[in-house]
């Protein structure tokens, strides 16, 4: 269970399947990936570049497009750290303590995965909308939530809430408390234990969760669409802006913004790969799996 020596590479003889089966399975996987992942990605970029780079630049330099990009980055910059902190706290609580209602908490963490994003958005409208539960109070105090940035952040936080926690809970449960206890017996205080023992132990899962969370935060459409109000230049995020451009017959611009969105996702993946490659030595020396 603890730090087994890296296993030797499996000898070829273990693969008893005939060559034809192996080739067929590999081909199937590649074909599937190509058809459902690679092809759409290629289409997005070719459609975007068809009218030329200048058109892409113009589409992105458009004032409303810039506002959408800024808003998307802002929303991600607020909601991702929030969910990272929440995810670590929740995973810590679930993995390391016994308390009544624990299984309920785990179920609740999963809720945003199972609820349609549109419903999530509507819930916030029902809570904070002018006719909603807190609507009159918010209006009386001149606080804008729905159809403004706070509402978009709320909806995004809600939808992306499970990503970090889901990555961390199984890992922290498997790791148990022994490392933290060891650090405590060595005289370390709570914060030091967290920073020097817990955090390094979970950092790859945390990073992965944060990257997934970020990708979803930037790409979220459904919930944000409900609470956005679609005010151009103010409450339109990139995905909403793509839809608007598409509906305005500005297909080239729509694909330009869409390809930027796709590019952000690719950069996210690349960042993860680079980090893993950069710290490969340490990973090999210390990773369990």
């Amino acid at each position: 269970m603890h730090e087994p020596a890296p296993p030797p590479p499996a000898p070829d003889s273990v693969l008893s399947e005939p060559l034809a089966v192996r080739v067929a399975l590999t081909a199937l996987a590649v074909l599937f990936l190509g058809l459902f992942v690679l092809l759409p990605l290629v289409v997005v970029f070719t459609e975007a570049l068809r009218p030329g780079l200048a058109a892409v630049r113009d589409a992105l330099a458009d004032e409303d497009a810039m506002a959408a990009i800024r808003l998307t980055l802002l929303v991600a910059a607020i909601s991702v750290p929030l969910n990272a902190v929440f995810g670590v706290a929740a995973a810590w609580a679930v993995a390391k303590f016994e308390f009544p209602g624990k299984s309920l908490l785990v179920t609740l963490i999963d809720l945003p995965f199972s609820v349609s994003p549109v419903v999530s958005g509507l819930v916030f409208v029902l809570l904070f909308g002018a006719q909603g539960l807190f609507g009159p109070w918010l209006r009386a105090h001149d606080v804008e939530i729905i159809f403004a940035v706070p509402g978009i952040v709320l909806a995004t936080v809600f939808v992306t809430l499970p990503f970090v926690a889901r990555e961390l809970i199984p890992l922290m449960q498997e790791q148990g408390m022994a490392d933290e206890e060891a650090a405590l017996t060595l005289g370390a205080g709570g914060l030091r234990v967290f920073l020097t023992v817990t955090l390094p132990n979970i950092r790859w899962a945390l990073l992965y969760g944060v990257l997934l969370c970020n990708a979803r935060a930037m790409g979220e459409f459904g919930a944000v669409s409900v609470v956005s109000g679609h005010i151009r230049g103010l409450t339109n995020t990139m995905p909403l802006h793509v839809e608007i451009l598409y509906n305005e017959y500005q297909f080239a611009a729509a694909f330009a913004v869409a390809s930027l969105l796709a590019l952000l996702a690719l950069v996210t993946l690349a960042a993860k790969s680079i980090l893993e490659w950069r710290y490969a030595d340490e990973l090999n020396g210390s990773r369990r799996h």
Partner: protein
């Protein structure tokens, strides 16, 4: 090494936080909105031009800069957003019932709002026509043809789209006129049409994209202006407009959202914006975008000549008023729900 790595992670967090702060400040600096026009789907191109003209006009008259922000969507959905708190300065929707709804639900608009501006607060009118594929392969000529089982019809959902409600009422009026004024005959006629609808989009623009971009359906029932825009965007060599024998006079109204502009202190600019819609300059722009201006004399004759001559009946002459039309046809359990049930039953 491990501690250094942790510090690096902290640095990243700090960088993100700093970025968030900067982004927020930047956003705040950009957030000095003056007016918000919450409109229905097909008016995107129209208001883009109107807003520019108004901003220039306002600047010339007062020396102040004004930005008019836009929010577009299905008329019913947009009304719902304003009811839920979307901070609209003015609403420019597809039909009076949606503004009535805002007025009664929020009390932010007085009940007599339609009397505050000329022509029942409609700076322009429009009507409903058909768009078919070039050469009209299914030979669609009139409303009758939409009920033919071999014709696939694209129209948005009357529950969320104002345009779709006009489509529906136009077909209903036609049925009453040609099938002897019988509500049952009209209902059966509409049922036959809705059986031919493969997809109900939430807004008029969604339907246009479904028809023109995704290539679904034989005929698109659309706003006149949207029909012309389709030809403009996707090519007159691919689509053509078919004018039915009779259609409805659609009156998309506008109103100030008094509650919101008074809270923001933008009543003067917002009122000026609505008044501007009735000026010569705006009426000219309206005609250019294939709407039927309230003051045709202000428009270019060439623009007006593009619009076909259709016999138009008014909502009032057939359905009384919007409140009545709304409750009979589009409320829960109304005629449209019955039609949908009949369609689903088959």
């Amino acid at each position: 090494m491990p501690i250094r790595l942790t510090r690096r992670a902290l640095d990243h967090l700090l960088a993100i936080a700093a970025f968030a702060l900067i982004a927020m400040v930047t956003l705040a600096a950009h957030a000095q909105t003056a007016l918000l026009n919450v409109s229905y789907d097909p008016t995107r191109e129209l208001y883009k031009d109107i807003n520019q003209a108004f901003a220039a006009d306002w600047k010339a008259r007062t020396g102040q800069a004004v930005t008019v922000r836009m929010s577009h969507g299905g008329s019913g959905k947009q009304a719902r957003s304003v009811i839920d708190g979307l901070d609209a300065s003015v609403v420019t929707l597809a039909l009076a019932a949606d503004i009535d709804e805002i007025a009664s639900a929020t009390k932010k608009i007085p009940a007599d709002w339609q009397a505050r501006l000329p022509n029942n607060a409609s700076p322009y009118t429009s009507t409903i026509v058909f768009v078919v594929r070039k050469g009209n392969p299914k030979a669609v000529k009139d409303w009758n043809d939409l009920a033919r089982p071999d014709v696939s019809v694209i129209t948005p959902n009357p529950k969320t789209s104002g345009g779709a409600r006009w489509n529906y009422l136009a077909a209903w009026g036609y049925a009453l006129e040609t099938k002897g004024g019988d509500a049952k005959a009209a209902r059966d006629f509409l049922t036959a049409i809705f059986r031919n609808v493969p997809v109900l989009d939430t807004g008029a623009r969604g339907s246009t994209v479904t028809f023109a971009q995704r290539g679904l359906g034989d005929v698109l029932v659309a706003w006149e202006n949207e029909a012309f825009l389709t030809l403009e965007e996707f090519g007159a060599d691919k689509y053509e407009i078919v004018t039915p024998s009779v259609s409805i006079l659609a009156e998309p109204p506008v109103s100030l959202v008094d509650g919101n502009v008074d809270a923001r202190g933008t009543r003067k600019a917002a009122q000026a914006y609505l008044d501007f819609l009735y000026t010569q300059a705006a009426q000219k722009i309206i005609a250019r975008h294939y709407y039927r201006p309230f003051k045709p004399e202000a428009a270019d004759k060439a623009d007006l000549d593009r619009l076909p001559k259709i016999r138009l009946f008014t909502l009032a002459s057939v359905f009384g008023d919007w409140t009545k039309a709304q409750s009979v046809h589009f409320s829960d359990g109304g005629e449209f729900d019955r039609i949908q049930q009949a369609v689903a039953k088959r």
